[in-house]
């Protein structure tokens, strides 16, 4: 609209920033319980209507993000279809069987299972699929529920930078700032192991008293009973046994990961339809379609902000704060990304950081790699601080508590505040040592 009334660049930049800011505040506070996708798309729509970003540029931005969109789709479909095959239920029962009656060993097994699931299926699968399964398991075993629930929630993020596929955030950042697999593993896998170790150690310390008990194995259903259709279950295991090395090979060859995820999902879907384990409609319900609107909206809004030069300035500020050293890059990158993910959701923060990191491309490889790895690390692990999404949610919960209303969520926050800063610091330090 404003293209008909040419505005000076300054006013354009101001208007764009204002719309972007309102969009981010909207995502943080979610007025009238609006869905995030609606807010992000709304922001993008306003920018397009006002002519602050051209439709061609917006389209180009979305097309450039194809790998991210397809990866989200493949990842969600893979987890949903693996859930249809009862794979996660089976793994849960096995984790309990291997615990040999001990509540503490089951706790450790939940961590290990969460690590494997996050690593191969991404943190979504651990948080959204494994958590309810563990809840059912622990309720049946009559063990205290909260420690196990927190274990799932935290390990979902703590194990989400072991491989590029372990978190869609990694794909968002790596699509624009590629790291070869060996560099990724060196800078993120080893810190990941340190972080997971700290997570498990502190949790055992925090819940040591509640984990001293034992459970009755007779309460467990047999692993066979957990599986509803044996052939489809075996087929799923075979497909996943192909997908896992394909992920690693594609990462090593710097090949986009979304085709691998989509191919795996298509194979699973074909099997599920053949053995009548699901319908297209049912499988479609397992995918959260609004996420695509959310990401698309964020991509367009941040692209418009990029034109104002604000994200470059933000990148320069990060560079300046780091003092141009690799230590500074890792620490500033981690802290900035972690704080940002807690202010707004981690997806918008990753998109913002993506644009900001463009300005560090002239830096030395150590500093550049440090910033990219630290951004992935901070955006992946940062949400553990508030876990419930953002500081805005925590503030809201605190207000509710003040009014003597329900206080769910604050329990997470209390644990997150103790554990996360320690994990962030230890992980960042390890990363710097390995740079």
């Amino acid at each position: 609209m404003l293209s008909f009334f040419p505005l000076p660049e300054f006013w354009k930049a101001l208007l764009t920033s204002l719309v972007a800011l309102l969009t981010l505040v909207g995502i943080m506070t979610r007025p009238f319980r609006w869905n995030e996708a609606r807010i992000a798309m709304g922001g993008a729509g306003v920018l397009l209507l006002l002519g602050l970003i051209s439709p061609v540029d917006a389209l180009f931005t979305l097309v450039r993000g194809w790998n991210t969109f397809l990866f989200f789709l493949g990842m969600m479909a893979l987890s949903t279809l693996a859930e249809t095959a009862s794979l996660f239920d089976w793994l849960g029962v096995q984790a309990a069987r291997f615990a040999g009656k001990s509540a503490a060993r089951l706790f450790l097994n939940v961590f290990l299972l969460g690590t494997v699931i996050s690593m191969l299926f991404s943190n979504d699968a651990t948080a959204l699929i494994l958590t309810p399964i563990v809840y059912v398991l622990v309720t049946k075993l009559r063990l205290p529920v909260l420690p196990y629930l927190f274990a799932c929630t935290f390990i979902a993020d703590s194990a989400s930078f072991l491989l590029p596929v372990s978190n869609p955030i990694n794909i968002i950042i790596l699509s624009r700032h590629p790291l070869d697999l060996l560099t990724f593993l060196r800078l993120l896998f080893l810190p990941g192991v340190v972080v997971i170790g700290i997570n498990i150690g502190i949790f055992f310390l925090l819940y040591r008293e509640q984990l001293k008990g034992s459970f009755d194995v007779a309460r467990l259903s047999s692993p066979d009973k957990a599986v509803k259709h044996k052939t489809y279950f075996r087929y799923t295991c075979c497909v996943l046994a192909l997908v896992a090395p394909a992920y690693v090979a594609a990462s090593a060859a710097q090949f986009p990961l979304s085709p691998v995820a989509i191919a795996g999902a298509v194979l699973l879907l074909a099997g599920a339809l053949y053995w009548r384990r699901t319908t297209l409609l049912e499988a479609g319900k397992g995918v959260s379609w609004s996420i695509f609107g959310f990401i698309a909206g964020m991509f367009i809004v941040v692209r418009a902000v990029e034109h104002t030069g604000l994200t470059t300035r933000f990148g320069n500020l990060l560079m300046h704060l780091s003092g141009g050293t690799s230590f500074g890059a890792v620490m500033v990158g981690t802290a900035g990304a972690a704080l940002g993910t807690n202010l707004i959701n981690n997806v918008p923060m990753a998109v913002v950081m993506n644009s900001a990191l463009v300005s560090i491309h002239n830096a030395s490889p150590a500093v550049g790699h440090g910033f990219i790895a630290a951004t992935i690390f901070g955006c992946d692990l940062g949400p553990n601080l508030t876990t419930v999404g953002s500081l805005a949610t925590v503030l809201w919960l605190l207000i509710l508590r003040h009014r003597n209303v329900d206080v769910s969520g604050l329990d997470y926050f209390k644990v997150g505040v103790i554990v996360t800063p320690l994990m962030l610091f230890a992980g960042a330090l390890t990363m710097w040592l390995l740079l």
């Binding site: 948080a127 309720t139 049946k140 008293e209």
Partner: protein, 174 residues
């Protein structure tokens, strides 16, 4: 005397022993209450919100029948596990509190206990200091859990707080 006994899955025997003593003093009408704690389910919903997914647990109060909640098999499985566990806990309770009236609720245990105590016109609430998941019989400032603490602070009637026997931790240093 109307006595409301709060079962947490670990304290049926302990409550049974306490009631034996009380019933020797005067006749009792006993109610046994078990609350399915909805706190963890709300935590799961908050987590889903962070991952940009709709809540799993139907909102309370439930939506009108015009808009039935989206069918989620996992949600049903969770409810089933909760109900089975609650039933088991109440059955255990019946072994020690044979003639007791059964009261089942869902919600935050501390709130449900004090509200049921008022509704049921209890003369006494019997509650354990903590669920007995811990092995150590601890005495000290943190020995009363948040549920018992809330009940002590908000109950509409006297409260009998059951503590584990801990003679080995005595004498306390003077």
């Amino acid at each position: 005397m109307r006595v409301l006994c709060c079962l947490d899955g670990t304290n049926a025997e302990q409550i049974g022993r306490a009631l034996e003593i009380l019933s020797a003093i005067q006749p009792l009408t006993v109610g046994m209450l078990h609350v399915i704690d909805t706190g963890p389910r709300k935590e799961i919903d908050l987590l889903r919100e962070r991952f940009l997914r709709p809540p799993m647990h139907p909102p309370h109060p439930p939506p009108p029948p015009m808009h039935p909640p989206h069918h989620i098999p996992r949600e049903e499985e969770m409810s089933e596990a909760e109900r089975a566990s609650a039933q088991e806990i109440l059955n255990e309770g019946r072994r020690f509190l044979a003639s007791a009236e059964t009261l089942e609720r869902e919600g935050r245990p501390e709130l449900e206990i004090v509200n049921v105590a008022a509704e049921w016109r209890a003369d006494l609430v019997v509650v354990s200091s903590r669920a007995g998941y811990r092995e150590r019989r601890e005495i000290g400032p943190k020995s009363v859990g948040h549920v018992a603490r809330f009940v002590l602070d908000h109950a509409p009637c006297p409260v009998l707080l059951l503590r584990p026997l801990a003679p080995e931790q005595f004498p306390i240093e003077r």
